[in-house]
Every structure is written in C-alpha cells, then in structure tokens.
Subunit: 154 residues, 3 copies
C-alpha cells in the first residue's frame, strides 16, 4: 500500500503508521510518502547545524513542530493540554505511541520516502531528519501506487 | 470500496456516506471503517449508562460530539451557526442529510466497522453506538482493501 | 488515478494537481473530482453575473474563497500572512504555484469534474467556474475509480 502523509498531526501520523504496520504484519509492502507538513514528523529533536539555510528557512524550521513528540492533535489540541492528555491516556491503556510506531515500521521494513519538493518548500535538509529515510519525488509515489494498486492520502 | 472515516466532521462524514451509497447503488460492496474521531458520528444521541468508565473516559465522552446531529462542519462552523445554516440550506434544496445517508447506507448493505483501538482511545463502548455496527481492527481494513483494491481515507 | 479534492486549501489543491500531473507525465490518465469546498478552487476571480441566485447563495459566494489566488493554507494561514509568505517562498525557490499547476493539468489532459450536488450546496453555477471543467456526480467518481483501481481523497 502507498500512503501519502501530508499532515504533521499526531493522530494522522499515527493512522498512517498503524495502517503501514498492519500491511507489513500481513506480509505486504507498505511505503509512506512524507509530503509537505508531513515531513515535520521525521525531524530530529536535537538541533542539527546545517549550512546554506536562508533566514526564511530558519524561521520556518522554528515555527514548525519538531518531530514525533512535538506534533499536535488535529482536534482538541487546546494549546498542548489536549494532546498531552491524549498521549497520557493512550499510554495508560497500553495503546501505541508515535515514536514506538515509527520504530516498529522500521523493523517491519516499511519504506519511508520524503518528497524532495516539499523538503525544499519547508526549508529542511535530509540531515535534519531521522535515519533510514529515503528521498523521492512524485514519480516514486505514482510508480508505487501503480505497482501495488492501493493508495491513501492522509 | 474500503473507506476510512477518521474525522468527526459533518461534511467529511457525508462525503464518506455519499461515496459508499454510490458504490452500493452501482452494485458494489462498500465498507466504512470508523476510526479515531470518526467513531463519534455513530454515537447515540440519548445517554447510555455503561459500567467501567473512568473519569477520563466520561470527560472525553462529554467533550466529543454526540452523533450525526452534533458533528460540526470542518470549515465555517462559526460556533454552530455556519453548520446550522448549511444543514438548513441543504434541506431546503432537497440535498441529503447525514442521518438520512446513514439509514440509506444500512438499507444498501454498506458494512460499518468500528476500529477497536480507537474505541478504547475515545473511551467509548459498543452499547453507546448505533445498532448494526461491527467491531474490527486494522487487519480488517487491510484485508478489505486488499480484496477490493480501492481505498480512500477521509 | 481518481482524485477527490474536497478541500479548498492551497496546499491540498497543490497536492492534488502535483499528483495528477505526475500521473499524466508518466502516461497515465488522471481525473480530479472537485467536491464540496474544493469547487471554490475553480472559481473565476472576476465576478460573473448569474441569474437565479438566492440571497443565501450570494452570501455563501461572498464568504468562500474565490479561486486559486484566494484559497488559504490549511496550516499557518495566519490571517493571510503565512499563505502570502509560503507563495513568495515557493516562487523564489522556483517551486510550482497553483495557477501554473492548473494550466499544466489542462495541457496534460487531466480531466476535471465538478460534483453537481456540491455545486448546488455551495450555490455556484458552472458559468462562475474556469473553462474546461465538466459536471458530474458520484457515479462518475465510482465508475472512474472502478476503471482505474486507484483513488485518493484529499
């Protein structure tokens, strides 16, 4: 299955990874294409020094959420309180969390591809993203969707 | 067609049901997987007494929209005014409404599956949801998408 | 590929067109179904005089964004400032813009279909939309998804 993750929201990123891991658990091949805001999910938490960033790139980097722990809920974020409550709630019920789902996806062989155009738009460099992530373009998504015949956009 | 309804918004729920009913009308099999916020669309309007709910479960239940009449528009909700206006507008033009689309889907044999993990995250029990709804997991969605080859995420 | 564009947001409309153009560039057939809010992306910027509009239709027309230049970002719109900044940013990096992607899609033979029910709900007439757009219904989407086997909902 080819999954486009366009959003940088906790709940939507979890949905993408739960589905990808479900596909992998059933013996299938899943690829997640991180585009536009979605790339922020893959950012490293610790600052990475990168050359060649404009002032605007830096400002964008500062304004966008930094990785799995920083992404907000799409509803009921309530200045962070709702998101914290939901994380605590899901942990207390032994439900999965985003960093855990991401590690599981890596172990399961889920391919993770970052859209090169979006990387440029967001002003991010590959060094700022988690390891084990490939770079790709829209042709990769279309090719993968053609091959597997199933695609979703989150 | 396998449709994931992730949102609890009036317009998106209507889109899911219009497509599912369209598939059914053309002789196909449609399944809607209600996940995360989407489960709230299926809540009964009248309160149901359920045992074993924590304080947090109750609080979530109180904060989330309760069924087809309570779900807001994704845009122009304007504290309820925009949503009420849109409903009135669509009724006056004889366009479908959400409760009507849901009954039609049942009559048409559209399968409605609720994600068990999301039920847990939202703190809801099956008794609080409309009748005729099944419980399932991510494997059901992946299996159904594999079988029919077409999936969308709303 | 059958693409449903449900949102009238700049970033999501661009995603739909980038994917459609990608499919066309690889020799495939792409169709975009503009539904609900998505129709606003196709509105002409200059006012068109149309008969038979109710007061509510006019009010909706006035409240909804008018075409490719008016649609906001789904995040960081910040009263228009964030959207203007992103447009300027993408132009300075030679990344595509929405009017350009729309012209490219037309040249590439991407089919653009407007949902008749949504047109009614939004209170818009075909004369108010860009040229080269067809009118259709949910059956067209289901038929097209059946034929090509790949569908996404944006």
């Amino acid at each position: 299955m080819s999954i486009v993750l366009f959003s940088c929201e906790l709940d939507k990123a979890m949905a993408a990874l739960v589905i990808a891991n479900g596909v992998a658990a059933m013996g299938g091949q899943a690829t997640i294409f991180f585009t536009f805001w979605g790339i922020n999910v893959l950012r490293k938490e610790t600052p990475v020094t990168v050359n060649g960033k404009t002032f605007m790139d830096k400002m964008f980097g500062w304004m966008m959420p930094k990785g799995t722990d920083a992404v907000p809920l799409s509803r009921m974020h309530m200045g962070g309180m709702g998101t914290a409550m939901m994380k605590w709630r899901m942990a207390s019920k032994n439900l999965p969390n985003l960093p855990g789902l991401l590690s599981e996806a890596k172990r399961n062989g889920v391919r993770m591809v970052v859209c090169s155009m979006s990387l440029d738009a967001m002003g991010l460099k590959m060094e700022e993203l988690l390891d084990g992530v490939e770079i790709g373009g829209v042709a990769d998504f279309v090719g993968s969707a053609n091959e597997c015949g199933k695609s979703i956009f989150i």
